[in-house]
């Protein structure tokens, strides 16, 4: 009976007060008043425990978001990885519209992850983190708009040689460049804050840097070598997101070091 009553209390409370509490309960027989009093005390301890967790920097509200950020990073990287894989000859054949939708959804998920992980890390490096976030977020949106616009040009929806074509081309190129710089900066900020995963941060920063190198090599040295480098760059980038996502989920699961009640 006593052990059942003690189990009504939260685990952290039991770890701190369990032994001495049980010693008191063993001092005399328990009546209905004692049982009711202990059940109410356990309820109070659970309510306080929940409130204390919510009050910590890694409180429930925030860590739930952190878990969401981790999941978004992993899901986004997986979708983009799959979409990227289908591009290779001999891989699964997909309708271009489906491929485009996967690309947009994958990038959207990474934007969600970027927002949440930026908010989490902004406590330590606010200027760097928010600069990286702004560049990457605006860059991704401009890049996607530009890409859709260029598809519109090839489909005939946007007039070739028009100002609209110039605008979407600029959005595509400038957006892509801003996104690459933003994600690389986000990797640097993540490494410097040291709150999530430094290996993941290195991969995330190396990916965009390798992408720039791959473009340069492809257009100036050898197309195939550039393509190979791009494969490594995308691999680094997506793996970096997966590693950061796992780190965020693990951090979410870590018990906050709050007071026991």
């Amino acid at each position: 009976m006593r052990s059942v009553l003690i189990r009504c209390y939260p685990a952290r409370w039991r770890a701190r007060y369990g032994d001495e509490f049980l010693a008191i309960l063993e001092e005399r027989p328990l009546g209905p008043y004692d049982v009711a009093d202990i059940v109410l005390g356990a309820l109070d301890a659970r309510l306080r425990s929940r409130r204390d967790r919510a009050a910590t920097p890694q409180g429930r509200g925030f860590t739930m978001s952190l878990r969401l950020g981790g999941i978004a990073a992993i899901v986004g990287a997986a979708i983009l990885g799959f979409a990227w894989f289908t591009v290779f000859p001999g891989a699964i054949s997909m309708e271009p519209i489906v491929l485009m939708a996967m690309f947009v959804v994958g990038l959207g998920a990474l934007l969600v992850a970027l927002t949440i992980l930026s908010a989490f890390q902004a406590r330590t490096l606010p200027r760097l983190v928010w600069t990286a976030f702004a560049l990457a977020a605006v860059g991704v949106v401009a890049y996607v708009v530009g890409l859709l616009g260029l598809i519109g040009v090839t489909e005939g929806a946007v007039t070739s040689g028009s100002a609209a074509e110039t605008a979407v081309t600029v959005a595509y190129a400038a957006g892509g460049l801003a996104a690459v710089v933003g994600f690389a900066l986000f990797g640097v900020a993540t490494y410097r804050s040291g709150e999530l995963s430094r290996p993941g941060a290195v991969l995330l920063a190396a990916g965009p840097a390798l992408m720039v190198g791959a473009w340069l090599v492809a257009f100036t040295v050898a197309w195939d070598l550039g393509g190979l480098m791009m494969l490594g760059a995308v691999g680094c980038f997506l793996t970096g997101w997966v590693v950061l996502g796992i780190a965020a989920i693990r951090l979410d699961g870590r018990k906050p070091e709050a007071r026991p009640a």
């Binding site: 409370w13 007060y17 032994d19 001495e20 509490f21 049980l22 010693a23 008191i24 309960l25 001092e27 008043y33 004692d34 009711a36 009093d37 202990i38 059940v39 109410l40 005390g41 356990a42 109070d44 301890a45 306080r48 007071r259 026991p260 009640a261």
Partner: protein, 107 residues
């Protein structure tokens, strides 16, 4: 410097009784319960005792000492003693005011 009086809600009275019990020296939980029962004439359940003790410990009004055979004594801190004195003075003034008003009504 006047110490801030913590808000203990429905555990305000048990907290005061515990502080009074600890005012003459450290005691473990069961000894506090017996002391409170002797002093107030009402039993204090273990659930109420620990709900109040946890709050008092969080506010730094009591500190746990090393356990002896699973029984952990608690000691009143300097802040706890100051807070207790302040509360008892407030209660004394309240009681005196009440008694004065009562005497004024008496014929």
């Amino acid at each position: 410097m006047t110490a801030r009086t913590p808000e203990f809600g429905r555990f305000a009275e048990p907290s005061l009784l515990i502080l009074v019990s600890l005012s003459d020296g450290p005691k473990h939980g069961y000894a506090i319960m017996q002391d409170v029962e002797r002093g107030s004439g009402r039993p204090m359940g273990a659930g109420t005792l620990y709900a109040a003790l946890v709050r008092l410990e969080d506010e730094g009004l009591v500190v746990p000492l090393a356990p002896v055979d699973r029984r952990r004594p608690y000691r009143l801190t300097a802040i706890g003693a100051s807070m207790l004195a302040e509360q008892l003075r407030g209660l004394t003034e309240f009681a005196q005011q009440g008694l004065r008003q009562l005497h004024e009504l008496e014929p």
